[in-house]
């Protein structure tokens, strides 16, 4: 088994922590993991890309080859479209809908969302709204993990366990919020055609 994920977003959106949540959960299930990150210049509000590779055997390259990602997980709709060349034709795009329009020539949002919808397997998630309903807009990452979770080679209970331990120090309320966000994301992905 191998499962390659392209994580995309804009510098400052927490793409790396999104990647870390999935990576540590996969490792807990005994999978091999390689995670390639970006630091430095592009983190200043630029396009950010991380490669996350999960497998049940050794992983050679830190970078994902073109046409072989099982999933593009995007924190921002325009960025979810930027790396389609990496996506396996049977792969899925799971994208948040809220744009980060920090550039002058950002295309009309409906065109961006329509482009995502036109892909064979696309899941659009109102991550920010769902996170706010769960108790904190900052839990958008966790909504996206939840939305991706039915497709990931990682059990929901492992992700729940991660949330419980990773946020334990911040108190029961933060744990609850993030668990709610995780489940809201999962439920949202389930109802999208």
């Amino acid at each position: 088994m191998k499962f390659d994920i392209i994580l995309a977003g804009v510098g400052g959106q927490g793409v790396l922590s999104l990647s870390a949540i999935i990576a540590s959960s996969a490792m807990r299930e005994g999978l091999a993991v390689k995670q390639s990150e970006v630091h430095g210049m592009s983190q200043r509000g630029g396009a950010v890309l991380a490669h996350l590779r999960l497998a049940d055997g050794p992983i050679a390259s830190d970078l994902i080859p073109r046409g072989s990602a099982a999933m593009i997980l995007g924190m921002e709709p325009l960025e979810s479209l930027r790396y389609l060349e990496y996506l396996d034709r049977a792969g899925a795009v799971v994208s948040a809908t809220t744009p980060m329009a920090n550039i002058a020539d950002y295309p009309p949002l409906d065109q961006v969302l329509a482009a995502i919808r036109s892909l064979p397997r696309a899941y659009l998630v109102e991550a920010e709204a769902l996170a706010r309903q769960a108790g904190s807009a900052r839990a958008s990452n966790m909504v996206m993990v939840g939305a991706a979770s039915p497709l990931l080679p990682v059990a929901l209970s492992t992700l729940e366990h991660f949330v419980e331990t990773a946020f334990a120090a911040k108190g029961a309320k933060v744990v609850e919020t993030n668990l709610r966000a995780l489940h809201a994301g999962r439920a949202a992905a389930a109802v999208i055609p």
């Binding site: 990150e37 430095g40 970078l63 389609l84 961006v112």
Partner: protein, 542 residues
């Protein structure tokens, strides 16, 4: 003993601890920064070893060299272009009799993700005639760093560990050992081997040359240089560093497994390479960096019976980093097709200053002050302030290397350009800006220096600067900047018009003027990492 998930950078750091490190020094620079950050966190938790940011790579290297002189183990970290700054001590330290293991961890940035060039540090190791390790995996980053300390002490040379971005900033699993204790402090009293007066230096240089044979013998037998031959093979691939991973990624798709030679320890094993290519009709070189072994193999008189493929002949692009797809194409395999997007062109999203960044206010003041002056030139420097080169500011005309804004402004002024404004961040100024400012002060150069004091090394993630804001003012004053022409302003939107006015006055002055624009980086404010900015504003009248 145990297994951990670490960045490539962190694997180097942990290995240094396990190697009995006494002290580590460095200057932040992507992609090397996380080595020392790991060690600084380690020190906060465990009390040792010493781990410290320095003013620049040269001072860091020299501090590490002093630790080695005292018989103890030292690590010094930097990015590839940082080694240019530390080149003087690096080159000369190859001649002294290293006693405590001295390891230089340098992180190259092929593809220039966050750099001004993609120089390959393996050539620097060759230039200095020292050994170099090039890990391809996280485990090798750990194992090679451990071994580098031993090799340093065994051959009495500094040893380089060369990382590249994709390993430095990738996370993977590392099995670690137990580690050993520090060396005792032991200055061996062979001062002549450390005093590079010409007579000693000639003797030491000869000794280094004579040691080359032993070093080569060692790397020839290294477990990090591997061969998988087969007499019947006609096609072979030579990989270095990360290129091996990209080859392995594609190997199963080749109709026949080629002969394989991998180099991870330098000087490269010339004898083994000769033997490897002897039966081959064709060899492909995959190097993450310059065509270093490739050029040696091609030589001036290329071997007649061997077709050599690589960066110089076009099978591999002449520049940029490798990836699985580039290697796939070089192997002659068809690329896998991904999904294509129809009907929508995606705009680029280049990096930009954070919303509310103080540099934005300073750049705004500079461009407003210069708006009505045709021919004005603004030179810039390395760091977040470089982003002033991009829209919406388009405010600067040069960005070359650390500190160059000031020296280049002086030269441009000497060449007759008026007015000239140099823009540099506080940390970059402390790194390499003090000496060129001294030149300009001495000469009374008609130019304006704007130091953007955001109280941190921002681009690399907010490391502390060497001097505080008030110490910076004292320093600039102490360099002899004329009284009345040193202005300290607060880089804040509410001061926009008075800042523009101050800039206009400074630029109008026919001699040297300095403006220090102070406000903390909004990123570090957010993280609450530093004390609140002082309300220091107004003209300093010493």
């Amino acid at each position: 003993m145990g297994e951990r998930v670490l960045l490539g950078d962190e694997a180097v750091a942990l290995a240094a601890v396990h190697a009995g490190l006494t002290a580590a020094y460095g200057y932040p620079g992507t992609p090397s920064t996380e080595i020392l950050e790991y060690l600084i966190r380690h020190r906060e938790q465990h009390g040792s070893p010493r781990a410290q940011w320095c003013a620049n790579e040269k001072t860091a290297y020299e501090a590490a060299l002093g630790v080695s002189f005292a018989g103890r183990r030292a690590l010094v970290t930097m990015k590839h272009v940082g080694l240019n700054v530390a080149a003087d001590p690096f080159m000369n330290s190859a001649l002294v009799a290293i006693t405590g293991g001295l390891v230089l961890a340098v992180a190259d940035d092929p593809g220039m993700h966050s750099s001004q060039n993609e120089q390959d540090s393996r050539l620097f190791a060759d230039f200095a005639r020292v050994a170099c390790f090039e890990p391809a995996t996280h485990q090798e980053a750990y194992d090679m760093t451990l071994e580098a300390f031993d090799v340093s002490e065994r051959f009495e040379i500094p040893v380089m560990v060369r990382l590249v971005t994709r390993l430095a900033h990738s996370r993977g699993i590392v099995r670690t050992g137990d580690g050993r204790g520090e060396n005792p402090s032991d200055k061996r009293g062979q001062a002549a081997s450390w005093i590079l007066l010409p007579a000693n230096a000639r003797r030491r240089w000869r000794a280094l040359i004579e040691r080359q044979r032993d070093i080569r013998e060692y790397t020839a037998g290294s477990r990090f240089n591997t061969v998988e031959g087969g007499p019947a093979k006609r096609f072979g691939v030579i990989t270095t560093g990360l290129a091996r991973n990209y080859l392995l990624e594609n190997l199963a798709d080749l109709p026949e497994r080629p002969a394989l030679l991998h180099v991870g320890a330098y000087p490269y094993p010339a004898e083994a390479i000769r033997a490897f290519v002897a039966p081959l009709a064709r060899v492909l070189l995959l190097e993450e960096g310059y065509p270093y072994i490739e050029r040696a193999l091609r030589g001036i008189v290329p071997p007649a019976a061997l077709e050599i493929q690589g960066r110089e002949s076009g099978e591999v692009p002449p520049d940029g980093e490798l990836n699985p797809d580039i290697v796939r194409a070089a192997l002659g395999l068809p690329l896998r097709q991904g999904v294509t997007l129809e009907g929508l062109t995606l705009p680029n999203r280049p990096p930009q200053l954070c919303a509310g960044c103080p540099h934005g206010d300073s750049l705004h003041a500079i461009t407003s002050a210069l708006a009505s002056i045709p021919g004005a030139v603004v030179t810039a420097d390395i760091g977040c302030s470089t982003l002033g080169a991009l829209p919406p500011y388009n405010a600067v005309e040069t960005c070359v290397c650390m500190g160059a804004s000031i020296g280049m402004a002086k030269g441009a002024a000497d060449a007759g350009v008026r007015p000239v404004v140099a823009v540099i961040g506080d940390s970059t100024f402390l790194h390499s800006g003090i000496t060129p400012l001294m030149d300009a002060v001495k000469d009374g150069t008609p130019m304006t220096l704007v130091i953007l004091d955001n109280k941190t090394v921002a681009m690399t993630g907010g490391q502390p600067t060497i001097l505080s804001s008030s110490e910076l003012v004292t320093l600039v004053h102490g360099l002899g900047v004329p009284p009345g022409h040193l202005h300290v302003i607060e880089a804040h939107p509410r001061r926009a018009s008075e800042n523009t006015e101050t800039l206009r006055r400074a630029v109008g002055h026919p001699g040297l003027s300095v403006v220090i624009a102070v406000r903390e980086c909004v990123e570090t404010v957010k993280r609450g990492k530093r004390e609140k900015p002082s309300a220091a504003a107004g003209e300093v009248r010493p």
